[in-house]
C-alpha cells in the first residue's frame, strides 16, 4: 500500500484478521469486517467496471444496495460463479475472487470505450431506431449486439448450493434495523408483542451506529453510544427475533412478505461445506413497520460519473465505519447540510479536504458553522460544471450560479481532487410501501415522495417516511409507533435529542453548465448510461408518460432499479414539461427490491423434489423388470418393458401380440376411483353421465361419458354398482382430481338436496388387469372356487371374493377388447396380487404391458382416450358416440349444449379412422390432414390423434379428427410431412373385431 488510506483502530473492522482476495487477477488484502468495496478502496482501487453502453470507466459510488457501478463477477467456478454482485454489499472473505464485467480485454483498457467517443451517434432509442431495417438482417445484428451488451456471465453448471424456505409469523415485522426500527422494536416488545426485526447488513444500527460528531446527542450521550446500549438491550429481548444479513425482497398484499437471508456468502469458501447458502422467509405479519431509511441522491452535472466521484454519505461511512479514506485530496459538492457531516469526518480523520462547493447562498446551521470554524474553504452559490481524469477524477471545475440558478457565470475555478463527495439530498426508500399497494404523495419542501395512503396494516417511520433530522426521526418514530400499536406510554417518552437543524434548502435537478446540453454528459442512470439529454430527447420525440420515458431511455432499468437517479429523471421531466412532480407520479417499484438468486426462489424444490410424483404399489416390480416410465399427471406409469435391447416399437409390438394371442397384464392402479354412497347416488349418476343408470343392477358395471356444461367430453370411465346405494366410479388417470372437484361442486352448490357422499379412493386400491384369451385360465388358477362361466360372471359384471384374508373386487371389464379381469385389492396387497398373477400366468406367457401397448390395443378397437383423441372441443356426437346419449333423460350435465346452433353443425370436426395406402407407413400423431396440396393457403381439415402399427392386423392404423369426417368415409386424403406426402383413406374407427367376439375369449 503506497498511499496511507487506512485509518487504524476502527471498531467495526478487525485488523487482526487479514484476508486476501483477488481482483482482476491481482492479489490484494483487506480485513474482516470490510466489504469488497471498502477493501478495494483501501487498495486505492476506484475503477471497477465499465458502463453498459459507452463503456466509460466507472468506480465505486456508494456503500449500499443502490450501487450502480461496482457490480462484479464473483468466483471463477462454472457452477458457483455469480454475476452482477454489488461490491458494496458483499462482505470480504478469505480467498474471494472477483472480476470486472462488461469490458474487454480489461477494465483498464476496454475496446468498447470507443462508444464513448461515438456517443453523439448513440442517442436514446439508438438500437430501436437503427436495427429496424431491413427486418431480415436482425439475425445478423443480434449476435454482435448481444455480445457487446449484457453484464456478467451466468454460471453454466448446475448450482450445487443448498437453499431453504421457511415460514414465519409475527405480531410486528420491522424492516430495517436502524435507529427508528430499533426504537419501534423495543416499544412493541415492551407491549408484549412478538417482533421480527430484519436488517440487511451484518450489524444493527444503521447509519447512526458509526456517527462520530459531537453535535448529535441523545439523553446527553453521543448518539452512537446511546444506540449501542439500545442494541444490547434488544439483543437480550426474548420478544424480538433478529435476522441480520436479511433483506426484504417483496411486500405483497395482506402483509405477506418475502425476505432473503444470506447465511454463508460472507464465509470463506472452505467454511461453506454442507451449509445452507441462503434462506427465503415467507412472512405473515399482523402489522408491518417499514424503517428502511433513505438513499442519498447524487447531483446531475457534466461528467458526474468518473471513478472517484462518490456519494458524500458513502465517503463518510468508508471513513467512520471501515476506516478507509476514499481519497487524499477531497472536494465536497452539496446542496444540503448532510454533506457537512462528511466534512467533519474527513477533518477528524486527518484527511485533506480542499473545498466544499455548495449551490446554496449560505447556511447557518450548527454543523455548517462548525465546519466554517475549521477554516475549510466553502464556495457558496457555486456549481461543478466539469470534472477531469479518465480513469480517476483529478480535477473539478466550478462556476458561480446566477440568481435564478439556471446558468453559470463568472470565471472557472479548478480544484484538485482525487475524490469528489456529492450530495443532492435524500430519497426515502418507499419501494416496499408502494409494492404493497400504497400510494405516495409529493413533499414540495424536501422534493421527495413520501408514503400516503395504504389499505394494509402498516406504518413507515424514520427517514423512510421523510424525517431526516435526528430529533424528527426519533420523536416521530416514537409517537407514530405508539399510535400504530395503540400504546399510551413508552420508555422513550422523555427522550432528549440534540442535533443540527437545516434551515436553508435549494434543489436543482439538472445543474446548469457553461456548455450547451448537447455537448455534455450529465448522467442519471449510471448503469444504463442514460443522461439528462436522453430524457429531453424522449420528451421532444413525444414520450410524455413517465413510464414511457423510462422504457425509451432505459432510465432506472438496471440491476439497481434506478435507486439513485429516478428522482432526477422525474424532476427533469417535470421541469421540462412544466408539470408538478406530484402530478407526474413515479414509475412502478417492482419486487424484488434487490436481485434474488434463482436458488433462493426455488429453495429445496429442485431435482427429484421439483414436483411430487406418485408411484403405484407395484412400482418396484416394474423397476425390477426393466420398465420405462412415462408421466401421466403426477403418476409414474410403466410405459413399456424392453427386453434384450428392444426399441420401444419392438417392445410394444411384442407386448400387443402377447396380449391378443395369450395374455397380458397391466398395472391399472392409477385410474381415478371415487366411492359414491347415498340414497340419491343413482340419481346423481343420471345427472352427471350422458347415459341412463336407473336400471343398472347390483354387481354390474357400466361405461359412462361425462360432459362439461358446454357439451364437450370431459371424462369417461366404468362405474360399478357395489350395493343398493353404493357405487365405485373410475375416471381417467389424469382427470381424477378434476372430476372429483367438479362433482363436489355440483353436489354442494347446485344439488345440495341430493343425499350423496363422495370419497376419493384412488390411492386406497391397487389394480391388476389381466387380459387375453387365456385370462380366464389364469384367474381360475388364483381364485379356484370362483365360477368364471359367462352365465355367472358375464362381461361388465363384478364379484367380491376372498384370497386368503385379502378382499378382492374383480371387475370383468375390457379396454383392450380382449376377455379381461381387473382385480382390485387394498393397496398394500397390490404387489402381492400382481406377483400372484405373474406366477399363475407363467405357463401362458403372461406378458406385462405398459401404457403404450394399452393405447395400441384400445385404438385397434376404436376406444377413445379422453385428452388424446379429444381436446375440449369434441362432443359425443363428434366422436360418433351418439349411442351413449340417453334420449329419455330430461337433463344431464351438458345436455342443453348438445343442440346449440354450433354443436349441431354437420361440418364440425369428427372422429374418424385412417388407413395409410402403404400399410407399413405409420403416421405421426399431430400430423395435419389436407385434401388438395396445391391450394394456397391449404385448408387444414384435421389432424391425427392416435397412430400405431397393429401387429395383429399387420398394418398401420390411426384415429384422427376431421372436418365433416362422418361424410368422408372411404375418401382419399393427404398427410403432408416435411419430406413427403402420405396418402390415406378415411375409415371406420373400429379396426379389429367389430363383432366384439374376443370379449368372451
Amino acid at each position: 500500500m503506497s498511499k496511507n488510506l487506512r485509518i487504524n483502530n476502527k471498531q467495526f473492522v478487525d485488523e487482526t484478521r487479514k484476508l486476501s482476495f483477488v481482483f482482476n487477477g491481482k492479489k490484494l488484502y483487506g480485513y474482516k469486517g470490510d466489504t469488497l468495496a471498502s477493501a478495494l478502496l483501501s487498495n486505492d482501487i476506484h475503477l471497477v467496471g465499465r458502463s453498459f453502453k459507452y463503456h466509460r470507466p466507472r468506480g465505486i459510488m456508494t456503500s449500499g444496495s443502490e450501487e450502480p457501478n461496482a457490480i462484479l463477477q464473483i468466483g471463477n467456478d462454472d457452477a458457483l460463479t455469480e454475476p452482477n454482485v454489488r461490491a458494496t454489499e458483499i462482505e470480504l472473505y478469505d480467498g474471494l475472487i472477483c472480476n470486472s464485467q462488461n469490458c474487454w480485454p480489461s477494465v483498464k483498457f476496454d475496446i468498447g470505450g470507443i462508444n464513448n467517443f461515438l456517443s453523439p451517434l448513440l442517442p436514446a432509442g439508438f438500437y430501436y431506431k437503427t436495427f429496424m431495417w431491413p427486418a431480415s438482417f436482425w439475425g445478423k445484428y443480434e449476435y454482435f449486439i448481444r455480445k457487446s451488451a449484457g453484464l456478467g456471465k451466468s454460471p453454466t453448471k448446475q448450482d450445487p448450493d443448498m437453499y431453504d424456505h421457511r415460514y414465519m409469523h409475527c405480531d410486528i415485522l420491522i424492516v430495517g434495523g436502524g435507529v427508528s426500527g430499533l426504537i419501534a422494536a423495543k416499544i412493541a416488545s415492551d407491549d408484549n408483542k412478538k417482533v421480527l426485526l430484519l436488517e440487511d447488513k451484518e450489524l444493527l444500527g444503521g447509519s447512526l451506529i458509526y456517527d462520530d460528531n459531537d453535535i448529535s446527542k441523545i439523553d446527553d450521550q453521543k448518539s452512537s453510544e446511546w444506540l449501542k446500549k439500545l442494541i444490547d438491550n434488544i439483543k437480550n429481548d426474548k420478544n424480538i427475533i433478529i435476522k441480520t444479513r436479511t433483506s426484504l425482497a417483496a411486500y405483497h398484499n395482506y402483509n405477506f412478505l418475502l425476505a432473503r437471508q444470506n447465511l454463508t456468502d460472507h464465509l470463506s469458501v472452505n467454511d461453506r461445506n454442507n451449509k445452507i447458502r441462503q434462506r427465503l422467509y415467507k412472512i405473515r405479519a399482523k402489522k408491518v413497520i417499514i424503517s428502511t431509511g433513505a438513499i442519498e441522491r447524487p447531483q446531475v452535472f457534466h461528467n458526474n460519473d468518473r471513478p472517484g466521484i462518490m456519494l458524500a454519505s458513502a465517503v463518510k461511512k468508508y471513513i467512520d465505519y471501515y476506516g478507509v479514506r476514499c481519497g487524499l485530496e477531497n472536494v465536497i459538492f452539496t446542496n444540503n447540510d448532510s454533506a457537512y457531516e462528511t466534512a467533519l469526518s474527513l477533518h477528524k480523520s486527518g484527511t485533506k479536504l480542499n473545498a466544499i462547493v455548495d449551490i446554496r447562498d449560505n447556511s447557518s446551521s450548527e454543523i455548517v458553522n462548525q465546519v466554517k470554524g475549521l477554516g475549510i474553504q466553502i464556495y457558496w452559490n457555486h456549481s461543478v460544471v466539469d470534472t477531469k481524469g479518465y480513469k480517476r477524477i483529478n480535477k473539478v471545475t466550478i462556476m458561480k450560479l446566477n440568481d435564478k440558478g439556471n446558468d453559470v457565470i463568472g470565471k472557472k475555478i479548478e480544484l484538485n481532487c482525487d475524490c469528489l463527495s456529492v450530495s443532492g439530498g435524500w430519497t426515502p426508500m418507499v419501494h416496499l410501501f408502494t409494492q404493497s399497494g400504497g400510494k405516495l404523495k409529493f413533499d414540495n419542501k424536501d422534493n421527495i415522495f413520501v408514503p400516503d395512503k395504504t389499505n394494509l396494516n402498516q406504518l413507515s417511520i424514520g427517514s423512510a417516511k421523510g424525517d431526516f433530522e435526528l430529533d424528527d426521526v426519533l420523536k416521530n418514530s416514537i409517537k407514530d409507533t405508539k399510535k400504530f400499536l395503540n400504546i399510551e406510554n413508552s420508555n422513550f417518552d422523555k427522550i432528549d435529542v440534540k442535533c443540527s437543524k437545516e434551515k436553508d434548502k435549494k434543489n436543482i435537478w439538472l445543474l446548469p453548465s457553461d456548455k450547451p446540453l448537447s455537448k455534455t454528459k450529465p448522467f442519471l442512470d449510471y448503469q444504463n448510461d442514460s443522461t439528462a439529454k436522453d430524457i429531453k430527447l424522449a420528451l421532444r420525440e413525444g414520450f410524455k408518460s413517465i413510464e414511457h420515458v423510462k422504457r425509451y431511455t432505459t432510465t432506472g432499468m438496471g440491476t439497481d432499479q434506478g435507486k439513485l437517479a429516478n428522482m432526477h429523471a422525474l424532476g427533469i421531466v417535470a421541469d421540462t414539461t412544466n408539470t408538478n412532480m406530484g402530478d407526474l407520479g413515479t414509475t412502478t417499484f417492482r419486487p424484488p427490491y434487490t436481485p434474488l438468486t434463482f436458488g433462493t426462489i426455488v429453495g429445496r424444490n429442485v431435482g427429484q423434489f421439483f414436483d411430487i410424483f406418485r408411484k403405484t404399489p407395484m412400482h418396484d416390480w416394474h423397476v425390477d423388470n426393466n420398465a420405462k416410465f412415462e408421466n401421466v399427471g403426477q403418476w409414474k406409469r410403466a410405459w413399456y418393458y424392453p427386453k434384450d435391447g428392444e426399441t420401444m416399437y419392438d417392445a410394444v409390438q411384442r407386448e400387443s401380440k402377447a396380449a391378443r394371442e395369450s395374455s397380458g397384464i397391466l398395472d391399472a392402479s392409477t385410474l381415478g376411483k371415487i366411492d359414491i354412497q347415498g340414497t340419491d347416488a343413482n340419481e346423481f349418476l343420471n345427472r352427471v353421465y350422458t347415459n341412463a343408470w336407473s336400471k343398472l343392477q347390483i354387481g354390474k358395471c357400466r361405461y359412462g361419458l361425462m360432459l362439461n356444461e358446454d357439451g364437450m367430453v370431459y371424462d369417461d370411465g366404468v362405474t360399478t354398482k357395489l350395493g343398493e346405494n353404493h357405487y365405485l366410479m373410475t375416471t381417467t388417470t389424469g382427470g381424477a382430481a378434476n372430476v372429483m372437484s367438479k362433482l363436489e361442486d355440483y353436489l354442494q352448490t347446485e344439488w345440495p338436496e341430493l343425499d350423496v357422499f363422495l370419497t376419493s379412493v384412488t390411492d386406497h386400491y391397487a389394480t391388476a388387469s389381466v387380459c387375453g384369451p387365456n385370462a380366464k385360465k389364469i384367474i381360475n388358477k388364483i381364485f379356484k372356487n370362483l365360477d368364471l362361466s359367462d352365465e355367472s360372471f358375464p362381461h361388465m359384471s363384478f364379484k367380491e371374493v376372498k384370497l386368503g384374508n385379502i378382499s378382492c373386487r374383480i371387475m370383468r371389464i375390457s379396454f383392450t377388447g380382449e376377455l379381461s379381469y381387473e382385480i382390485n385389492v387394498e393397496a398394500s396387497y397390490g404387489k402381492y396380487i400382481w406377483e400372484k398373477c405373474i406366477e399363475a400366468g407363467k405357463e401362458f406367457n403372461i406378458t406385462p404391458y405398459g401404457t403404450e401397448t394399452m393405447h395400441l390395443l384400445r385404438a385397434e378397437k376404436g376406444f377413445i382416450i379422453v385428452g388424446q383423441d379429444t381436446d375440449g372441443t369434441m362432443t359425443p356426437v363428434d366422436l360418433q358416440m351418439d349411442w351413449i346419449i340417453s334420449k329419455k333423460k330430461y337433463d344431464f350435465i351438458g345436455k342443453r349444449s348438445l343442440y346449440r346452433s354450433d354443436t349441431i353443425r354437420e361440418d364440425r370436426k369428427q372422429l374418424v379412422g385412417l388407413l395409410t395406402d402403404d400399410p407399413n407407413e405409420i403416421l405421426e400423431e399431430g400430423a395435419q390432414l389436407i385434401k388438395d396440396g396445391n391450394k394456397n393457403p391449404v385448408d387444414m381439415l384435421g389432424h391425427v390423434t392416435s397412430s400405431y402399427f397393429s401387429p395383429t392386423l399387420k398394418k398401420s392404423i390411426a384415429l384422427a379428427i376431421l372436418k365433416e369426417g362422418k361424410k368422408l368415409k372411404g375418401q382419399k386424403l393427404l398427410v403432408p410431412m416435411i419430406d413427403k406426402t402420405i396418402k390415406v383413406t378415411v375409415s371406420d374407427t373400429i379396426f379389429l373385431d367389430k363383432e366384439n367376439e374376443r370379449i368372451n375369449g
Binding site: H252, N253, Y254, F256, R284, G437, N455, E709, D710, S741, E744, D745, Q748, T749, E750, P752, Y890, D891, K895, R896, S897, R900, S901
Partner: protein, 91 residues
C-alpha cells in the same frame, strides 16, 4: 397472497383455495326450456368489474367446501365471506 377466512376451518393462506369464478349464477332448473341465447347467457357470460365482486371459492386443500366471497377486485380486500345458499350481502 391473501388470507381467506374459510367459514368451516378459519383463516388460511390463499394457496389452499381455488377460485370458482362469479357467484350466484344458478344452473337453470329446466335447461330445455331455454333458447340458445338464454342458455349462452348462463353458460358463458361472466362479470369482470373493478370493485366488489361476488365470487365462489373452494377450500380445495382443506375441507373441500365451497363458499361465497365478496372481494374488491381493485385491492383484493375481502369484504364478506358467507356460505353457499346464503343471499349476497348488501355492500
Amino acid at each position: 397472497m391473501f388470507l381467506i377466512n374459510c367459514p368451516y376451518c378459519g383463516e388460511r393462506d390463499q394457496s389452499e383455495f381455488v377460485s370458482g369464478g362469479e357467484a350466484h349464477i344458478a344452473r337453470p332448473k329446466q335447461p330445455t326450456e331455454l333458447n340458445d341465447d338464454q342458455w349462452a347467457e348462463y353458460l358463458f357470460m361472466r362479470k369482470n368489474i373493478k370493485g366488489i365482486q361476488f365470487e365462489r371459492w373452494n377450500h380445495a386443500h382443506g375441507c373441500r367446501k365451497w363458499f361465497n366471497v365478496a372481494r374488491d377486485t381493485s385491492n383484493d380486500k375481502i369484504e364478506k365471506i358467507y356460505k353457499m345458499g346464503e343471499q349476497p350481502p348488501k355492500l
